[in-house]
C-alpha cells in the first residue's frame, strides 16, 4: 500500500499498525509532498527529515518485533515554530529568536504525539510572536492559502493551516490566544480544536499572552482531531496553568448521537460584522443540527475589548526588553503594537481581568440551558494577501485587527471550540462549535455528526 496525499491520520495509523504500509513509506511520502508543493505554500520553515526517518524506522522496528504501537503509528505531523523542537532555536516567527540556542528538549505535546507513534517532519511558519491573524510574516514570507495562493492562510498559525489544508501532513499543532487555531482553520478549510484553557500543556513552547494562550491540533477529519487531542491530554507540572484533571478520551464518544444535545445559535455580537458567506455557513450548520434558538451572549463586544487589552499589555510585558534592545529586528507593525501595549494604564488591565470573571459567569448561566453554541469562526473567507481593509456592516475597518472579532470573545474565557469547515465555493469558511468548559467531547461529537451528514468537510486543494 502506498501513501496517498489525503490519507487521514487514522487511515495511515491503521495501515501502518496492520503492516500494510511502513511508517517510513508514510514519512517519505509526506516529505516528498512537502518538497514538491511547499515552495508555493510556504508553510514550513524547518524540515526535520533525518529525525523523521529515524523515528519512522523505530516505529517499523517495533511493529516487526511484534510490539504494540500507539494510535498515531507512522503519522507525519508538524508544529508551529513556537514549539520547542530539540536541536532547533524556537523562532516563534521572529528574526530575534533565531539567535537563541537550539532547544534541548521537545515541547510536551511533541513528546506525547511521538509517544503515540507520530512522526515529526518539521516546524511551520507563523505570524511574528503570534501577534497576528493573517499568516503573513515579514521575515519568512506569508503562509499561502492552499485553495487560492494569492490569499491569506490566516494566523497566527498560518503554516499549520496551509500545511494541513494543502494535505502536506494530516495533522499539525498550533496555538490560539485570540483565534490563531480557528482563523487558519476557517480560511484553509480544515478542522481545528482549541481546547479548554489549561487542558493541553504549553510546556516548552514560546508564550505570547499567558492568560489566554492555548495549544491544539489541526486535521482534515474530526476523527484525526480527536486522535491527536486524546494523545496529548494529561497533567503536566511544567505548565502552571495545565489542569490536573485526568484523561478524558473523546474518540470513543465521537459517534454518540447528538439528538439529546441542546444546540443554539449565538446571537448579538456574533450575528453582526459578518459577510454573507459567514451567514450562509452558520445557517447550513444550524439547519443540519435543527438549531433554531438564538441565545444572546451579553457583552461579547466588551469581552473582545478586554481580550484586546490583556493581549496587548501582556504581550508588551513579555517583549519589553527585546523592544528596548532590538526594536528594529521586529516586524514594524508588531513592534508598534507592542510599544503601544506597554503604555496602557495598569487599572485598565486589572479591570479587564475582573471583567473576565464576570463574563465567565454569564456563560455559566447560558450553559445551564444550552450544550452547544454555534458562531462564525471568521467574518469572511480568506482575504487577499496584503489586503489592509474590508467593509464590515458598512464600516471600513482594518482586516488585521478584525478577523478575530468572533473568536476573541470565546477564547477570552477559555471555552473549548471545534472550528468546522463549510466547503463553500470558491472558498471554504469555518464555523465555531462551542461547548462548556471541559466538554471538548461534546464539541467534537457535534463536529463529527456534521461531518457524517456531509455538511462540513475539508476540501481538496485543487491543483495540488
Amino acid at each position: 500500500m502506498t501513501a496517498k496525499p489525503e490519507m487521514t491520520a487514522s487511515e495511515i495509523a491503521s495501515a501502518v499498525a496492520r503492516g500494510k504500509m511502513s511508517a517510513l513509506d508514510a514519512t517519505e511520502a509526506a516529505l516528498a509532498r512537502i518538497k514538491q508543493h511547499d515552495g508555493v505554500f510556504n508553510s514550513f520553515t524547518d524540515l526535520t527529515d533525518d529525525r523523521a526517518r529515524a523515528k519512522a524506522r523505530a516505529v517499523d522496528a517495533d511493529i516487526a518485533a511484534g510490539k504494540t504501537v500507539g494510535p498515531l503509528a507512522g503519522v507525519p505531523f508538524a508544529v508551529k515554530n513556537l514549539f520547542d523542537v530539540a536541536g532547533l532555536p524556537t523562532r516563534a516567527g521572529s528574526k530575534i529568536n533565531r539567535d537563541l540556542a537550539p532547544s534541548k528538549r521537545d515541547a510536551t505535546l511533541i513528546e506525547r504525539m511521538e509517544a503515540a507513534g507520530a512522526v515529526l517532519v518539521g516546524a511551520l511558519n507563523m505570524g511574528e510572536y503570534a501577534y497576528d491573524f493573517t499568516g503573513e510574516n515579514v521575515h519568512d514570507g506569508p503562509s499561502r492559502n492552499p485553495h487560492d495562493t494569492t490569499r491569506m492562510a490566516g494566523g497566527s498559525s498560518g503554516g499549520s493551516g496551509s500545511a494541513v489544508g494543502g494535505a502536506l501532513v494530516p495533522i499539525a499543532l498550533g496555538s490560539d490566544t485570540n483565534g490563531s487555531i480557528r482563523v487558519p482553520s476557517s480560511f484553509c478549510g480544515i478542522f481545528g480544536l482549541k481546547p479548554t484553557y489549561g487542558r493541553l500543556s504549553r510546556a516548552r513552547t514560546f508564550p505570547f499572552v499567558a492568560s489566554l494562550d492555548h495549544l491544539g491540533p489541526f486535521a482534515r477529519s474530526v476523527t484525526d482531531l480527536a486522535l491527536a487531542y486524546d494523545a496529548m491530554q494529561g497533567p503536566d507540572a511544567d505548565d502552571g496553568a495545565c489542569t490536573t484533571r485526568g484523561l478524558e478520551p473523546t474518540l470513543p464518544l465521537l459517534a454518540n448521537p447528538v439528538s439529546d444535545l441542546r444546540i443554539a445559535i449565538a446571537g448579538g455580537h456574533f450575528q453582526k460584522n459578518v459577510f454573507p458567506e459567514a451567514v450562509e455557513a452558520v445557517s447550513r450548520v444550524a439547519k443540519a443540527l435543527g438549531a433554531t434558538r438564538v441565545v444572546d451572549v451579553p457583552e461579547a463586544s466588551r469581552a473582545r475589548a478586554a481580550a484586546y487589552v490583556i493581549t496587548t499589555t501582556e504581550g508588551a510585558s513579555l517583549h519589553l526588553d527585546r523592544l528596548r534592545k532590538r526594536p528594529n529586528d521586529f516586524d514594524p507593525a508588531v513592534r508598534d503594537r507592542l510599544i503601544a501595549g506597554a503604555m496602557v494604564p495598569a487599572p485598565l488591565v486589572d479591570r479587564a481581568q475582573k471583567f473576565r470573571r464576570w463574563y465567565r459567569a454569564q456563560f455559566a448561566e447560558i450553559f445551564k440551558s444550552v450544550d452547544v453554541l454555534i458562531a462564525p469562526a471568521t467574518p469572511c473567507t480568506a482575504p487577499k494577501l496584503g489586503q489592509v481593509n474590508f467593509n464590515l456592516d458598512g464600516v471600513e475597518l482594518p482586516v488585521r485587527a478584525n478577523i478575530g472579532i468572533h473568536t476573541q470573545p470565546i477564547s477570552f474565557i477559555g471555552l473549548p471550540v471545534v472550528a468546522v469547515p463549510v466547503p463553500l465555493e470558491p472558498l471554504p469558511i469555518g464555523v465555531q462549535i462551542i461547548a462548556a468548559p471541559w466538554r471538548e467531547d461534546i464539541a467534537l461529537r457535534v463536529a463529527h455528526a456534521l461531518e457524517k451528514m456531509g455538511v462540513v468537510a475539508a476540501p481538496s486543494p485543487k491543483g495540488f
Binding site: Y308, L323, A340, A342, V344, L348, K354, I413, G414
Partner: protein, 59 residues
C-alpha cells in the same frame, strides 16, 4: 501641532526606557488610541468591588 497623546507617549517612553523613534510615533499613537478606546469600554463597565481578577484563569 502636537497630537494629544504625544506628551504621554514621551513620558511613558522615558519612564520605561522604551525607545520610540519619530518614524514609529504615528503607528504607536494609532495603536495606543485603539487600546485606550477599547480600554474605555472595559472601564465603563461597573463591577462589584469584590470582583476577583483572573490572573491564572480556570475555565
Amino acid at each position: 501641532m502636537a497630537e494629544p497623546l504625544d506628551d504621554y507617549i514621551d513620558a511613558v517612553s522615558k519612564a520605561l526606557t522604551l525607545p520610540v523613534e519619530e518614524a514609529w510615533r504615528p503607528a504607536v499613537r494609532a495603536n495606543l488610541e485603539v487600546s485606550l478606546r477599547l480600554g474605555r469600554l472595559v472601564d465603563e463597565f461597573a463591577l462589584p468591588d469584590e470582583t476577583e481578577p483572573a490572573p491564572i484563569f480556570t475555565a
